[in-house]
């Protein structure tokens, strides 16, 4: 009996020795699998990512070279944004003048004091990113030391870029609309009908808006904006325009193709929007859940 036992053991050892390659393969693949599962869905851990300080710093240096090409487009976009803001400023100045002419000045002052800012803007540069995968990510050169936190909204002069998914000290990782894990709540600007914006992984210029009821009036060229129903997004940020309309196979809902406002090909300078009242709102909403 002991002899047999020894023989069995010998067989097992022999088997293991014969198949070491295969065993090493399995071990390495299991490690990879663990990495994938622990990181993905929503990349909270930032060790194995470009938000990591080492690769982030390298990226930053390299991006200085590769983004030189994108500067003209970026410049044009900033000029256009500037022009738009100047026009808006002029308009609001006239409104204020009109109000202060007609209403007692004291009341205007108190109104202005009450409207303290809800949103704060941080600027950053994209230092790394992909656009041709189905799970694209971008790295920006501002992190927790600059006041960036997860779930903040990232925009550029054209519209919404995405959400901050992970932060390290000096870098942050952005989950853009063109990632199959991205789902943001949007609405049609004209009719106020809400829906969800997803991405099917096909073209970096087109995303899909779903859950819009069939009775909504939709036309090609309608503007799609953020709905403001999640506490992360300010309401009314431009996302894109409706480029294709079709009815869902199961009926009752539209599947809208949305031409994205942001050109991910030439993305460089971005702004991160911080909601100053987010904590307060979340706390209130939590009391009902």
């Amino acid at each position: 009996m002991p002899l047999l036992y020894c023989k069995e053991m010998h067989n097992v050892i022999y088997f293991l020795l014969r198949h070491t390659n295969f065993l090493v393969l399995i071990v390495l693949e299991v490690i990879c699998g663990l990495l994938i599962v622990s990181y993905n869905d929503y990349p909270r851990s930032s060790f194995f990512s470009t938000a990591n300080i080492v690769s982030g710093t390298v990226d930053k240096g390299l991006a200085a070279v590769s983004h030189y090409i994108d500067l003209p487009a970026d410049n044009r976009r900033l000029l256009a944004q500037n022009q738009r803001l100047m026009a808006e400023l002029e308009q609001s100045r006239r409104v204020v003048e009109f109000i202060s002419d007609t209403i007692v000045l004291e009341r205007v002052d108190s109104m202005m004091i009450r409207s303290y800012p809800d949103w704060r803007f941080h600027t950053a540069y994209v230092v790394n990113g992909t656009i041709n995968k189905s799970r694209n990510m971008f790295t920006i050169d501002k992190g927790s030391t600059n006041g960036i936190a997860t779930d903040m909204v990232v925009v550029n002069g054209d519209g919404v870029v995405g959400l901050v998914a992970a932060v390290s000290r000096n870098f942050a990782l952005v989950l853009p609309i063109i990632n199959t894990s991205s789902h943001i709540s949007v609405k049609l600007k004209n009719s106020n009908h809400r829906g969800q914006l997803n991405w099917d992984g096909l073209l970096p210029t087109v995303a899909q808006m779903v859950d819009v009821p069939e009775h909504a009036v939709v036309e090609i060229g309608d503007t799609v904006v953020t709905s403001g129903s999640s506490s992360y997004f300010p309401e009314g940020l431009i996302v894109g325009t409706v480029g294709a309309i079709e009815i869902d196979k199961n009926g009752g809902f539209y599947n809208l193709g949305v031409d994205l406002a942001v050109d991910y090909n030439s993305i460089y300078s971005v702004e991160i929007i911080e909601n100053m009242k987010q904590g307060e709102r979340e706390e209130l909403e939590k009391t009902f859940n």
Binding site: T20, N21, F22, V24, L25, L28, E29, I31, C32, G33, L34, L35, I36, Y39, N40, D41, P43, F48, S49, T50, N52, S55, D59, L62, S66, N128, G129, T130, I131, N132, K133, S134, R135, M137, T139, L173, T180, S181, D200, G201, L202, L203, P204, N265
Partner: protein, 178 residues
């Protein structure tokens, strides 16, 4: 080529292809669904005599390097490890007159473009199928993924052969004892 020479050559090769992959290829979107993976040329360039286990570990490290730079931890590493494991069988399948010299390097210059294309294609098929299916692990768009694999294999193969022709010193010329 000496052992140290090989290590130096492979390290330089890995550095160069990683930079090209991360800075240029990851950001190009000319053809839809096309994600060319030039860095696989690094796995192809290892000497015939490389044992499976060191090969898999090297592949794992190289894949992890690409993963860190493109925010896909584990995916490229997994694909590389599998491709490295399969290389032995692929080489047996397309054996060149039934003999590879242990210390020789698989190259276009040494074994001809037809042999090299077969070799690169098989390695890419293993690598890309694994990579793009794993990338879709939670939601599967089957048709899109298959198209992505086919288009990307074509683009990767073209780039790898081009790279081999442009930089024969890096991907390895035929070793001659003299």
């Amino acid at each position: 080529m000496s052992n140290t020479g090989n290590i130096v050559r492979l390290t330089i090769l890995l550095g160069i292809v990683t930079l090209i992959q991360v800075l240029i290829l990851n950001n190009i979107d000319i053809i839809p669904l096309c994600n060319p993976m030039l860095y696989v040329v690094f796995l192809l360039a290892m000497p015939f005599g490389t044992k499976s286990i060191p090969m898999m570990i090297t592949g794992f490290v190289a894949g992890l390097l690409i993963d860190v730079a493109s925010n896909t931890p584990g995916m490229h590493a997994g694909a590389c490890v599998l491709a490295c494991y399969m290389r032995k069988y692929i080489l047996q399948l397309i054996a060149f007159r039934n003999a590879y010299k242990e210390d020789e390097l698989p190259s276009i210059q040494g074994y001809g473009i037809v042999w090299y294309t077969k070799y690169a294609l098989m390695m890419l098929v293993v690598h890309h199928i694994f990579l793009f299916f794993v990338e879709q692990y939670d939601r599967l768009f089957l048709l899109q993924t298959v198209l992505r694999i086919v288009i990307s294999i074509g683009a990767s193969l073209g780039l790898i052969i081009l790279f081999g022709l442009i930089a024969p010193g890096l991907t390895g010329q035929r070793y001659k004892e003299s």
